[in-house]
């Protein structure tokens, strides 16, 4: 075991935790806004995958990671438009449509990837890093915490911005009202459907960005079905965070660490099969749900569509 606790091992562990956590963080933050507004967004897995595909495709064609991130947000938002029209405006069942969108995005991205790249999986060059002078040179935590791509810091900044938005602004209040008592919001002159559409589109863009991060920085390439449940884990993070963005960040880091620990162990030479390693994040989610599931707080109008004047 002594060989495990080297500086290189710890550093790669921390780096892995952050790389794994960022997509879940972005997806969780996005899902949180939808859930606040009363929309259970099961389609988030599909939005993430579409974001991963389009994000990769744009980054590959333009050789610009930032264009790729923009493409990813656009891809996620495109799927979210379908969700917003069908589930918010028309009031169709959010779970059935959500499953439909996830299946559709899985099929569509696999299809498009097949016709563009056939069986090849081109890679993007390694991302440029934002080195913070002084901090990056620290041992162990330096390169892993302070030598990341700028998008990582933006994701953490989003946590703070969203927390302030929910707590201190009218918009945050309106979002909550749309999820808890849509009829009351309607009577008070708020636009229930409007705010829900905004929330769903935001979810799509965030999930798409998470997917683009997964493809462009996490893996450097796009593989069909590559999200492998990260979006669903985002839903769990949002459920357990009880509306607070900071808890989504904490949760994402814990799951990221669980994921990275096993990968690091495998690199370090223990021969655990990959299937077992891939089970760990889901097992962690189940453990957390068994321990704290009762405390998960969901808005009372979640997954119920709103129709003015309906009984």
């Amino acid at each position: 075991m002594s060989g495990l606790l080297t500086e290189a091992f710890l550093s790669s562990l921390l780096t892995g935790a952050i790389v794994a956590a960022i997509p879940m963080l972005l997806a969780g933050l996005g899902e949180q806004m939808s859930e606040k507004a009363g929309v259970l967004n099961i389609g988030i897995e599909g939005m993430m995958l579409m974001g991963a595909y389009l994000g990769f495709f744009v980054a590959y064609e333009t050789s610009s990671l930032w264009m790729g991130f923009l493409g990813g947000m656009l891809g996620g938002a495109l799927v979210a438009v379908v969700m917003a029209v069908l589930c918010v405006w028309l009031g169709l069942n959010q779970i059935v449509i959500g499953i439909g969108l996830t299946l559709g995005a899985e099929g569509l991205t696999a299809l498009l990837h097949h016709f563009q790249f056939s069986r090849t999986y081109p890679r993007l060059p390694a991302p440029e890093r934002l080195d913070i002078p002084g901090l990056t040179d620290l041992p162990v935590i330096g390169p892993s915490l302070f030598g990341r791509h700028l998008i990582v810091y933006l994701a953490v900044l989003a946590v703070i911005v969203l927390a302030a938005l929910y707590r201190r602004t009218n918009l945050g209040m309106t979002l909550r009202a749309a999820g808890e008592r849509p009829a009351a919001l309607d009577v008070a002159g708020g636009n229930v459907l409007g705010i829900r559409v905004v929330a769903v589109l935001f979810t799509g863009a965030m999930a798409g960005l998470g997917g683009a991060y997964l493809a462009n920085i996490g893996a450097g390439l796009f593989i069909p079905f590559m999200t492998g449940g990260a979006g669903f884990i985002g839903i769990v993070l949002a459920m357990l965070a009880r509306g607070r963005p900071l808890w989504v960040l904490i949760g994402a880091l814990i799951f990221g660490a669980a994921l990275s620990l096993t990968t690091a162990l495998q690199v370090a030479g223990s021969n655990i099969p990959t299937d077992v390693i891939q089970m760990l994040p889901f097992a962690a989610v189940m453990l957390v749900l068994v321990l704290f599931g009762r405390r998960a707080k969901l808005p009372s109008a979640l997954a119920a569509s709103y129709e003015r004047g309906a009984r």
Binding site: L111, M279, G293
Partner: protein, 368 residues
Amino acid sequence: MSMVQDATPSSVDPEANAADAATRPGRSAFRRIMTVTIGPIVAAFILSAVILLLVGVNPLTYYGYILERSLFSGLGLEQTATRMAPLLFLVASLIVAFRAGIWNLGTDGQFLLGAVCSAATAPLLVGVVPGWAVLLIGFAVAAAVGAVWSIIPALLKAYQGVNEIITTLMMSFLGVLMASTLVKLVFLDPSTTVPQTRTLPVADRLPRLFDTSISSGLIWGLIAVMAVHLMMTRTAFGLRLRMVGANPTAATHAGLSVPLLTMATFTISAGFAGLSGASEILGVAGNVRADWNPAYGLMVIPLVFLARFHGVGAIVLVFFYSALMIGSESAARRLGVPQDFTLVLVASLLICLGLGEYIDHRKSRKER
């Protein structure tokens, strides 16, 4: 109305729908069926055709190959009938869950673990017990394993109120990976180098029907769907489950033990998902290779919705769906379209189906 307005799956009440249609003046039942069934199916095929055109494949050729292979060739038709068996067991699983208001989205994990465990047991029993007992035990093991895999979501839902959508999905991911791990580490066939379970000899599998290659799993699948349908619509137990699905609070006030009935729903539903896995192994495949995952579970959900949780309707749809799967496997090979296109088709079906319900809902409200 099912897709419109409600969060629980059980809010579809086929009887009420039928009564609606019968008593409603003005619009004929035919036009209603067009709006909610045939219309969406046609629209979904057109929508998918547009996507095929975009990637440069002639949709008419593609759909033509599907029909030719799955319905107009003898062997294809037999394959279509054989493929129906696991799908029918899954339909039975989902009808119980959805009518009882439970979103069991974890059938893939339950299916695979059932399949792996029956593949691990059955070949060892050949020669030890009579042939019918091998199959019976194989099915029983699969049902038990499937049910066991749903215990955590069931307990969490029944006693802690934890949303089962997430827990069943998570258990499904876990189950799929667990099944693959079991094949690679525990139930490995020592006589082969590829990671797979021992193989059940063809002679010991489910008998074939008459002189065809159709597995008799088809018959058992049909029986399962009809039994579940009758249980949910014609028995007191089924009524209790539907009450829990329609309104858990009211069910509690009526003196029903909602937690126990929730547990029962999970057990039955997951048990059938396990049986589905066994039907594929004991009827067709004979063994499980590592990383095998047909992922039928989520794909069957739209069928069950389209049939409005009605057993007979679901059987008809499973036939067409099975034909679509067999046909698209062949069309994919001949036209170079990946199998994943079926997912696009299923997604369009779900979306068009939802729109059909919406239009129907709007029309029927105008008439009131």
